[in-house]
Subunit: 318 residues, 2 copies
């Protein structure tokens, strides 16, 4: 085993930990997890590949580590689950500075700590080319209570959390001036997105959400996922979509990686304006017919309805 991989393993071991659900962490053939009685397990895996999901010249190692874990945690949030343990598979090129790995692990562990979840295992390898990470997040939810994509019913109202388009806007700026480094603090939704775990749990516990998904691919694509799995259609209004500062309708509709939640709820439900501090906005309604459409309103003209075509996130490769 090359020295660099040994040091990688040592570094990962150092940041690994245990928590209530982890009976045995790193250092055996498999980790041992204990799911609370009456709960089922949620499992999600997400790649973070250099040149596809991030660029070393655009994203700091801390941001890459944060985003890597945020992707997985956001999936657990979208089920209304609570995270139990994290597994990281990480392959790095021989020549990668150890400083980069340290920054990556720092970004990842800071987010893990925030959500009280520990690293329980994974794999390491030399990479023949770029940096390759695959994150696995295991979560739990009471049996039968996890919120699926398939529960939306005609007449349900459609909501989103937070504001959309902020991440795509930052990406567009980087494409426009590839050499200019963006200030990550000014674009937190792109560089340090917050998975909406507390909101997801709130919606599941209070039985508000009939279906839910996280906005990783973009509203237009993710709404299609909900409709496909629920066998319904939807109608949303462009002007109701909460947009991040300076984000265009295109960014809000088709840009991905905002990691907000999209959910549906029966028309009579009481949905607060804010849930654990996060704004929640109604943007449309589920329909019986299988079409998915959007109402847009130009100044002085009548509102116009058109088909909403999925135009979600295409990664960095075109």
């Amino acid at each position: 085993m090359p020295q660099s991989e040994k040091s990688l393993i040592a570094r990962i071991r150092r940041i690994s930990g245990t928590s209530q659900g982890i009976a045995l962490g790193i250092g055996d053939d498999a980790a041992i997890l204990r799911i609370p009685p009456g709960h089922e397990m949620l499992v999600t895996t997400d790649f973070s590949l250099e040149g596809v999901h991030f660029r070393r010249d655009w994203h700091s190692p801390e941001s890459v580590g944060h985003r890597c874990l945020a992707r997985g945690l956001s999936d657990i949030a979208a089920m209304g689950g609570e995270p139990v343990a994290v597994f990281l598979s990480l392959a790095v090129p021989e020549k990668l500075p150890q400083k980069w790995v340290d920054g990556f692990l720092r970004g990842l562990t800071a987010l893990a700590r925030q959500h009280r979840v520990a690293l329980a295992g994974g794999d390491t390898s030399a990479s023949p080319d770029g940096i390759l990470a695959d994150i696995v997040v295991v979560g739990s939810a009471p049996v039968g209570k996890a919120v699926r994509r398939s529960g939306a019913k005609p007449g349900d109202l459609i909501y989103v959390t937070g504001e959309l388009g902020g991440s795509a806007l930052a990406l567009a700026k980087m494409y426009a001036s590839p050499k200019k480094k963006l200030n990550a603090k000014k674009c937190p939704r792109h560089f340090f997105p917050e998975p909406r775990l507390a909101v997801g749990c709130y919606l599941r516990e209070r039985k508000i959400a009939t279906s839910m998904i996280d906005l990783s691919d973009g509203l237009s694509t993710d709404l299609h996922h909900i409709c496909e799995e629920s066998e319904v259609g939807a109608s949303i209004s462009a002007e109701l979509i909460p947009r991040a500062h300076h984000a265009s309708l295109e960014h809000a509709l088709h840009g991905g990686e905002d990691y907000e939640l999209l959910f549906t709820t029966p028309a009579g439900s009481k949905v607060p304006d804010k849930i654990v501090g996060v704004p929640v906005t109604r943007i449309g309604e589920i329909q019986r017919t299988r079409e998915i459409s959007i109402w847009t309103q130009s100044e002085g003209a009548k509102a116009k309805r058109s088909a909403l075509i999925p135009g979600g996130w295409e990664h960095f490769q075109e």
Copy 2:
């Protein structure tokens, strides 16, 4: 999303399935698994990267798919667990023939079916370079009963299953004649290794094994892992090590990827010569002193004891 990735997702969906433990498979933000009451979950993740763990000119896609899953199942076997669900993250270069992906998935699903475990999720992506796979296997074992690396006690006897060195011998042949394709049927331990799940369960159920590990890195390295976690030493005899046909002592000691099991058992235990058809051989003894040594015997000379240095598998990169 590029067409190739859509087709990849469609292909993976087609081979995914459900089983008793999978309440919800592919098609949501996370899969939902149900672990039997009184059981704990085992989780293991393993990379299979082109140029590191396999070479496209040496390994057929079926072999790569089989080996990818075998690595994960073997980890579950080493805990004495039973597999519950498999998650596959797969990134492929734009130009990879679909035939290759089909072969890979065929190899993977054939092994999955053999062990009655289904694909419950994962991730797909375009790869900027080679083929990248990360396999996650979730298993289960009765609470507190999974066999760890840390349970070996001084005086315990050391056993291995099957024969060692077969995989390394095949690898050595390929290194010697890189252009010549080996007949995979003649080198099954390298191209289509059998994870020892039934043996692992047998040893756990009958409380035979005090510690266990799978031989993925090579006997010398993996014995060190057992000794390190158990805080003991070991002494083994070269002549007792069961070797695959034509495999040298070096292959058997330091070659990895045989995916046999190495376990320890109290001196009085009854260990059959064969477990579910697999030969089981005593090769040494656990010792109180922290040294790890090997006895070798040259013809006519006295047996010689020397330190066993970990010389395990170094992947393909040197």
